[in-house]
């Protein structure tokens, strides 16, 4: 408290100054000039910052369209100087089962994770929001508490359990693990979404004869759609980007998701790394994330805030 007081003592020079009109005008002009200079300085700094965060993407994107020999040289300048070429993407295609197969693997895993995560957290969120049952709070805390436990520490048992279920080296097994990792955040989001829906709406729908799943899907789903969108975006990005679990749980070449495939590209052949293929791979893995984020930024930020505020 004492610190704050000393910080807020008045500056005596500020209180009693009565400048003449002319001086007033000059002061106003000076202030306007200062503000303009300030704005220029602000945006110069802003442009420099934006350049730092944007440049790696831009360089990789432009460089990935250089021709084969050119792709091995430093990206100075990053854009193709001889001709626009898809050589880098073609050489990426020679790794593993081809870039289409692995992009498809990644897409299948990510979309299945989205669908299952949304469906399961929708049901659980509804259950936790609207029903009363024994151990309700304990079970909710159990789901949230898994946030504390890093999945990196339980990879071996996950591997063994999936093998016991006949799901070793299976994309579906990987999906189940990803869905589980998404559940704490998603169930929390969906419960809050349902809590925000007034009970009267449900009662009115019940009187109109909608019940159970039909009530949930027809009446309530549209109302919690923003929450579901947030859950879906996070599920997609996390599944699309995940590396360690995929590296451990997938063992055959054909099933590799993109990040795991890229390890073969990174390792290179006969000691030489094909940097063109690396650039192309980075572009393939980056584009979906950026598009989804830019289109659905609002829902993404909502999820982030929900996480930050809780």
């Amino acid at each position: 408290m004492t610190m704050t007081q000393s910080a807020f003592t008045l500056d005596p020079t500020m209180t009693d100054t009565r400048p003449t009109d002319a001086a007033n005008e000059a002061a106003k002009a000076a202030r306007a000039r200062r503000r303009r200079n300030g704005a220029v300085a602000y945006h110069v700094a802003g442009a420099a910052i934006a350049l730092f965060f944007l440049a790696p993407f831009a360089i990789a994107f432009l460089a990935s369209f250089r021709s084969g020999p050119e792709s091995m040289t430093p990206p100075l300048p990053p854009w193709p100087t001889t001709a626009f070429s898809l050589d880098s993407y073609r050489s990426l295609d020679t790794f593993g089962a081809g870039v289409w197969q692995h992009t498809l693997n990644s897409l299948v895993v990510s979309l299945a994770t989205v669908i299952l995560t949304v469906a399961i957290s929708l049901l659980a969120g509804y259950g936790f929001s609207r029903y009363r049952f024994p151990f309700k709070n304990t079970l909710f805390v159990l789901i949230i508490a898994t946030l504390m436990i890093p999945f990196q520490s339980i990879l071996t048992p996950l591997f063994i359990i999936l093998a016991k279920l006949g799901l070793n080296n299976s994309l579906f097994g990987l999906v189940l693990v990803y869905v589980t990792l998404q559940l704490p955040f998603s169930v929390f989001m969906m419960r809050n979404a349902f809590d925000a829906v007034p009970k009267e709406i449900e009662e009115a729908a019940r009187i109109d004869g909608a019940r159970d799943l039909k009530l949930l899907v027809r009446v309530l789903l549209p109302l919690v759609l923003p929450g579901a969108a947030t859950v879906a975006i996070f599920a997609f990005l996390n599944a699309w980007n995940e590396f360690l679990a995929a590296l451990v749980l997938l063992s055959s070449n054909d099933n590799y998701t993109m990040p795991v495939l890229m390890m073969a590209v990174r390792a290179g052949r006969l000691g030489a790394i094909n940097w063109g293929a690396v650039q192309a791979g980075v572009v393939v893995m980056t584009i979906p994330c950026l598009i989804i984020f830019l289109l659905l930024q609002r829902y993404y930020m909502r999820g982030l805030m929900a996480g930050a505020v809780k």
């Binding site: 807020f8 965060f53 360089i59 436990i149 009662e203």
Partner: protein
């Protein structure tokens, strides 16, 4: 259905058995997954950690031998030390960049939304993708950073940024700051914007200088947010794996093996599954301890507010 309708008119009364069953039914799929893929694996990890558990052949109960072993395991201790160093440096670096950025994009002015979005872009791509991108940018012959420095005449020869420990460490820190700073910035921004503007305005009218307002108003009022951002950054750094695996393969001289990397090597390269499990339990204990500190920190923040 009638039961639910009747009961919703009488809140507080225990519901009938059928309603309870229906509620359990709704949460059943989520519970099944969490139990099968989280609760059981944690128990199994603890169980395995008390065994010598090779990939092939019979596992053998050895009590706490695995835990005794790690106290004398120089490579594990060096992985712990390295992870600690990385966590401290990365967290400081991220905050040193993210805090000024949060102040920079705080006020509503022209293009500020665009700045926020651009700074945030690297957050949404994967850490593996970012590592791959930067390992190319940092490459000595075909990359961007070294050749650019040479082109600008700042160095004689393009430096091999991933060959020495210091340069590789610095490169990874820069990559991580690029990747994560936007996230921390947004977290800090929510804290900044939650500060009532009339308090700041009152302080300004009272003559508090910009630095004074920051030091005695903004920082104390952001305690909770800063604690949260700090915890996220610390836990994320302790679990670091992708960047070391992809960018330096644990090198140079195996000096960049993080704890998760070491567990990965023990469990999935050397197949010492029991020993890997005991290391996992230690990692898990560290993170649970941090979570408890987090809850405590945030609670203390609550009391102050």
């Amino acid at each position: 259905m009638t039961v639910v309708a009747t009961l919703s008119r009488q809140p507080g009364r225990p519901r009938s058995r059928s309603s309870a069953w229906r509620g359990l039914l709704y949460i059943a799929p989520a519970m099944a997954l969490v139990i099968l893929f989280f609760v059981v694996p944690v128990i199994v990890t603890a169980w395995m950690s008390l065994h010598a558990w090779p990939l092939m052949g019979a596992q053998r109960w050895i009590g706490i031998s695995n835990y005794v072993r790690m106290i004398h395991d120089a490579r594990f201790l060096s992985a712990l030390r390295f992870t600690g160093l990385y966590t401290v440096v990365a967290t400081i670096a991220i905050f040193a960049v993210a805090f000024p950025l949060a102040l920079f994009v705080e006020k509503q002015r022209r293009f500020v939304g665009a700045y926020r979005t651009v700074i945030f872009l690297p957050v949404v791509v994967g850490l593996a993708t970012a590592s791959l991108l930067w390992v190319w940018l940092a490459n000595v012959d075909s990359g961007f950073i070294g050749p650019l420095l040479k082109e600008l005449g700042l160095v004689e020869r393009s430096p091999n940024l991933l060959a020495s420990f210091d340069a590789a460490f610095l490169t990874i820190i820069v990559m991580v700051v690029w990747k994560i700073a936007g996230f921390t910035m947004i977290i800090l921004l929510t804290g900044l914007q939650a500060i009532p503007s009339d308090i700041v305005e009152a302080a300004r009218i009272d003559g508090a200088k910009r630095w004074q307002r920051f030091r005695y108003l903004t920082l104390p009022l952001m305690r909770r947010t800063i604690a949260l951002a700090l915890i996220i950054s610390v836990t994320g750094s302790i679990l670091a794996f992708d960047q070391f695996y992809i960018m330096t393969a644990g090198g140079p001289q195996n000096r960049m093996i993080s704890v998760v990397y070491y567990i990965f090597n023990q469990s999935f390269v050397s197949f010492n599954l029991g020993y890997g499990a005991s290391l996992s339990i230690v990692l898990l204990a560290i993170l649970v301890a941090i979570s408890i500190v987090q809850l405590w920190l945030l609670k203390v923040g609550d009391d102050k507010a």
